[in-house]
Each structure stands twice: as C-alpha cells, then as structure tokens.
C-alpha cells in the first residue's frame, strides 16, 4: 500500500455548550490513499460533515479542533500550517463540493466568471487563458454548450447543472483530493445517477482521491472503495465496500443496512433500530450505541470499546466483536 494522501489522527472537534465544551467528533482516525474513494456514512448529527470541514480547517466558530488532533495531507501537518499556506491548499490541492450548489454559488455573478476567479486565485493565468480553461472544464464535466453556458447566472441553471459547475470549480486546479459532502442528496434520481457517474469517471481519469460524505448506502456501493461508518461522533466500523455491505460487524452498521427498505423484504416488517440518535453531550458512557443496541450487555454500559481488527482492512469498535475475535 502506498503512503496515504490524507491521514486523520485522533481528530476531536468541540463546540461550546451549557457547562463547558461538548465534543461532537471524538478520536476519529482515517486515511485515504491516492486515487481512492472513501465514503463516510452515518445518520444526521453523527459528525460526518464537520469532520469533512475540519480537513480544510473550515470549522465554523466557535467550534474548534481539539489539541492532540492531527491532519496530515501529502505529508504536511495541516493544523500547523500558516493560514496563507492553508489557503493555497484549499481549493487547489483539495477541492470541495457540497449538497446545495445554490448556496455555494454567487447568485449575481456569471458561473464561468466564478470558476475563472477560482483559477486566478491559485495561478497567474491571464483572463483569456483562464476563460479557455473554464470552457474545457465545463466540457469535461458534461455541461452542454459550454461556450454559451459560462455566461449563465446560477438561477438560469438546473440543480444538476449547478452541481456540475461546482464540480468544474473543484476540479479546476487538478486537486489530489476531492471532498464531496452529500453531493447528490438534493438532486433527483436521474440527475443523481449522472453526477455520481461523473464523479466516478473523473476520479478514475485524473487519479483524484474522493472523500464522500453520505447517508445513503446505495451511493456508497456505487462509488466507494472503502467505507467508514460514523455514529455519535465516532467511527464505529471501517472496511472495504464489500466488507461493510456484505459482512458488517458492528450492530449499528448491521442495523442501518437492515433498516433500508428492499425488494426482498416486501410483505415483511423492516428491522428497526429502536429509539433515536442521542444528541451530542447526551451520549451514554461506555459504548455510545448501548442505548439502542439489540445485543447490549453490562460491559457496554461501562467500558468504551476498543478498535478490534477483524481483517487486514476491516475493524469495528464493539465489545461483542472483540469477544468473538478472541474466541
């Protein structure tokens, strides 16, 4: 295995709350290899989006990354970089796209000019050269009639086309890592398929690694190489796409997959995960899933489970998995 492109070590993120700071993400460690697509999946409030923002140091105040966290990108410690150097990486070596393209685009500027500005922020390209590059990029991301579309304003484009503009902007500087936070959640099914296909093809053709944040296991299966499952601010399981989808070990990952309505479950009850996700600061002691877990036993309520390696590529944080692996 080659050296990781991105390495998160013991990442914790906190926000102030009544009675002190509350950690919304705790002890997250992850790595992404060059060219690889890693999906981080979880339900709302699990901390997946804020983890993605931390990678480019975009945590909104008053949130902060806790001491002891480390983010290494191409061997450099991002948390130790001066702001100017961080800016040079963000948008150039690391591209980003988000769920709602409308809120990421300036409504009063033509979309071509917005992408051009992004290029000129990072290079000394002349306006004419940058404009030519924008047309190329629009063509690359499948925007029909690119020479005309660069003059469009965001409101004149459909949701799918706006997301293509965002992808063009994110890919403009040939980043080594693309962070995509729920890039297709706001899109219709037929458009979602087009955009996922585009992300998959761009990653393959340019060798750009992708960190995909999603709540949708279908999307995971279609684009990811590896998967990390988050619950209550922690990674509870990670593995290859095949391992997580076919053979999940953590009861939360198992429960999530079983609760998806599928054709072969017709006429049968869906398996539920009882209760609801506890809020940050109200996480139980021991294993954070212990209030909802169907297999909970005494130890789960007392002791935080350690990361148990199940295969060279799969690991889970669960006492049951640990007991099974020892047996």
């Amino acid at each position: 295995m080659s050296a990781p492109l991105l390495l998160l070590e013991n990442l914790s993120i906190s926000f102030p709350a009544e009675g002190g700071r509350v950690r919304v993400v705790e002890g997250v460690s992850l790595s992404i290899a060059p060219g690889e697509t890693l999906a981080v999946v979880g339900e709302s409030g699990c901390g997946k989006s804020i983890t993605a923002l931390a990678m480019t140091r975009l945590i909104p105040r008053p949130g902060r990354i806790e001491p002891g966290s480390r983010i290494l990108f191409e061997g450099r410690d991002l948390l130790a970089l001066p702001v100017t150097e961080m800016r040079a990486i963000r948008g150039a070596r690391i591209g980003m796209i988000f769920q709602e393209p409308m809120t990421s685009l300036n409504p009063v500027t033509q979309v071509g000019a917005q992408v051009r500005e992004a290029i000129q922020l990072h290079t000394r390209a002349s306006t004419a050269d940058a404009r030519r590059r924008v047309v190329e990029l629009f063509e690359m991301v499948g925007i029909p009639d690119p020479a005309r579309r660069i003059h469009a304003y965001p409101h004149q484009l459909s949701g799918g086309l706006k997301q293509r503009v965002m992808i063009a902007m994110a890919m403009a500087m040939k980043p080594r890592l693309l962070i995509a936070d729920e890039p297709t959640t706001a899109l219709d099914a037929t458009i979602r398929a087009q955009i996922l296909d585009l992300i998959r093809n761009l990653s393959e053709s340019t060798g750009t690694a992708v960190l995909l944040i999603t709540h949708d296991f279908g999307v995971v299966n279609e684009v990811a190489d590896r998967v990390a499952v988050m619950y209550a601010g922690e990674i509870v399981e990670e593995g290859t796409r095949e391992e997580i989808l076919a053979n999940p070990q953590h009861p939360y990952a198992q429960g999530l997959l079983k609760s998806i309505p599928r054709a072969d479950a017709r006429g049968r009850r869906l398996e539920e995960i009882k209760g609801s996700v506890p809020r940050p600061g109200q996480w139980p002691t021991g294993c954070r899933f212990n209030t909802r877990c169907p297999h909970v036993f005494d130890r789960c309520r007392i002791e935080v489970p350690a990361r148990t390696v199940v295969s060279p590529t799969q690991a889970a944080r669960c006492h049951l998995v640990e007991q099974r692996s020892r047996a």
């Binding site: 087009q194 279908g218 299966n221 309505p261 054709a263």
Partner: protein, 333 residues
C-alpha cells in the same frame, strides 16, 4: 389488490395550472401546467405510490385531491361522489375522510399547540368525541397506537425528535378516522433507521384500520418495499401505472426504465446504477411538444416529437408511449 371493488378515489382528467404573470401589469403570460390531465383510480385498502422527480406535479395531485389547490379542470371522485364539484361547506364532510401526512413534521405542527391539542384539533373540527375529557382519552389511545408515551401529551412539538413528530402527525391524521391517507414524502426527511420505524407503523395501521394510502414519494426503494401499485409521473402527466413487482421487473415506459436504472444497488457484488435519462427535466411551463419525455428518451422515434402518445391500456395498467402500443398489440395477438 382489490381491482374488483369500486375505487375509493378516482381522478378524471385532473388539471392544476398556475398562472405565470409578468410585466408591469402582471398579465398572465403563460401557465405552469403542474398537473395536466391525470386519470387515476385508488382502490380500498391498497397502497398506491405516486412517484416522480421534483416538479413533476405529484405533490400538486395530493393538494388538488384535498382542494388545498383548486383544480383547474377535471374531477375528483371520492366514494362515488364528485367532491371537486361540491360547495366547500359540503366538501368539509369528506375532508374528514381524507387526511394528509407531509414531509416536514416540524412545519406541519403549530409550535404553540401542545401535542394533545394538535392531535385533538381535528376531532373538535369534526365533532368527534363527547367532550374535552373524552377527546383527551382518545388522544392518549392514539399516542399509544403510534408508540408515543401518552404522559408526554402536554409537551410541545420542539421537545420531540423528527421521528416522534412524524408519529404525532400520523396520530393527528388518524384522530378523525380517515379512510384515505395521503403520505406526501412522509418518510423522506427521516434518517433511515427512523424511516423503518415509520414504515412499520404505517403498515401496522393499514392492516388494523383497512386504510388506503396514496404514497407520494421520489424514493423508489420505499416504493418497491411498500406499494401495491405504482403510478409514475413526468411533467404533469402519468406515464405508466402497474403493479409494483411487474413495474420494477418489466417497466413499459422508457422514463420508468431510466428512473429504475438510476436507483443505486445495495448488492456489493454488482454496481448497477447507470445514467439512463439524457440531460435535465424541462420546465413545466414549456413542456416539449409531443411526448414530454422525448428529448431525454434513448429510444425515441421521429413521431414522438409530433404527437402526444395516448394512454395504452394493459390488463394490469397503462403506459403512455408509442412503443407500449406495439407491446399491447403483441399481447393481443
């Protein structure tokens, strides 16, 4: 499915157009044809899913049934009565029998109402229950039914989670004993583990109360699991109707095929999803001539851009495509 019985609800040529005004005089310069000639029957006890992408008009169909949006043309028949022609005072009587549960339970509940009052509001409007105490007892019963603790009935909606609020909305809809429940993206805003809880609840309630569901959604996974029949809508028209298993196994309309092909697979042994529809959905203000799907269709014929294809009927449904006519001829032979 109970095709033999009379439909509970029938839509005949339903249209809901919204005027587009422009210029200083705000003159009507066109119409957004959100619903443009929909025929549909829903039978007692079945779950009919109305699926389509945003802007196809599926939500407006639900609103037009309830007359939250007055239909421009066409009629809505409920239990054999043309309810779209009734004066609003008389329609009120039927309104009790048709209830709706919407996507966002946070905005569907008045934050100043306790849960007890939110659930009891409809009972008061329709004179259900003897008095205040009797209604409170009924609220407690309904809350137990949807797995909420009746002790919490004096709390306010913000004290509940999203899934619990959706249970409150379901209890409120059931409070007036409807026969038809319209679920408009009722589980779309919920996390998947909570969605499973709500789908199980809806399924239990349907068995117990013989409810009929019109399930409006964009989520084909939910449809395949939950619906008896499916109607696929595109740009204001229904393009295909059929029983769920047949429609998923052998879709007859190219748009249905494209929609199904765009559903991601959960089987790690195969990645299946492929973009099958070309380009974007056109604006409902300027739908393309002929078949509305033809600019995005991979198998279009020259005549598709000229003439609107008729609804071709099959023993188990309908498809609005010239190619379906060939299938239907083949079936007849």
């Amino acid at each position: 499915m109970t095709e033999a019985s009379d439909p509970l609800l029938e839509l005949h040529g339903l249209r809901a157009w919204f005027p587009v005004r422009s210029g200083v005089l705000r003159r009507t310069t066109g119409h957004v044809k959100a619903v443009d000639g929909v025929d549909l029957s829903i039978y007692p006890g079945e779950t009919l899913a109305l699926v389509g992408e945003s802007g196809c008009g599926k939500t407006t169909v639900g609103r037009a049934i309830l007359r939250l949006t007055e239909p421009t043309d066409g009629s809505v028949w409920f239990e054999g009565v043309n309810v779209s022609a009734l004066p609003s005072a008389e329609f009120h009587r039927y309104r009790q029998r048709i209830q709706i549960v919407m996507q966002d339970p946070a905005s569907a509940l008045d934050p100043r109402f306790t849960v007890r009052d939110a659930i009891a509001e409809g009972m008061e409007a329709f004179n259900i229950g003897k008095d205040h105490d009797d209604r409170t007892a009924r609220v407690a019963e309904l809350m137990r039914k949807v797995s909420l603790d009746p002790e919490t009935m004096w709390r306010y909606p913000h004290e509940f989670s999203g899934g619990q609020r959706q249970r409150i909305c379901i209890a409120r809809a059931l409070a007036v004993e409807p026969s038809l429940l319209i679920c408009d993206e009722a589980t779309s805003a919920l996390d998947v583990s909570i969605q499973a809880q709500i789908l199980n609840l809806l399924s239990d309630l349907q068995k117990e109360r013989k409810l009929t569901y019109l399930f409006i959604t964009h989520d084909l996974g939910v449809v395949r699991y939950f619906a008896d029949r499916v109607a696929v809508m595109y740009l204001g028209k229904i393009v295909e109707i059929g029983p769920t298993e047949r429609l998923f196994a052998e879709p007859r309309h190219p748009y249905t095929r494209a929609l199904l092909a765009s559903v991601p697979s959960l089987d790690p042994a195969r990645r299946r999803m492929r973009p099958a529809a070309l380009g974007d959905v056109p604006s409902p203000e300027h739908p393309p001539p002929g078949c509305r799907y033809h600019p995005r269709c991979g198998v279009r014929l020259p005549e598709c851009s000229l003439e609107e294809p008729p609804a071709v009927r099959f023993p188990d449904g309908m498809s609005r495509c010239v190619l379906a006519r060939q299938d239907s001829d083949a079936l007849a032979q």
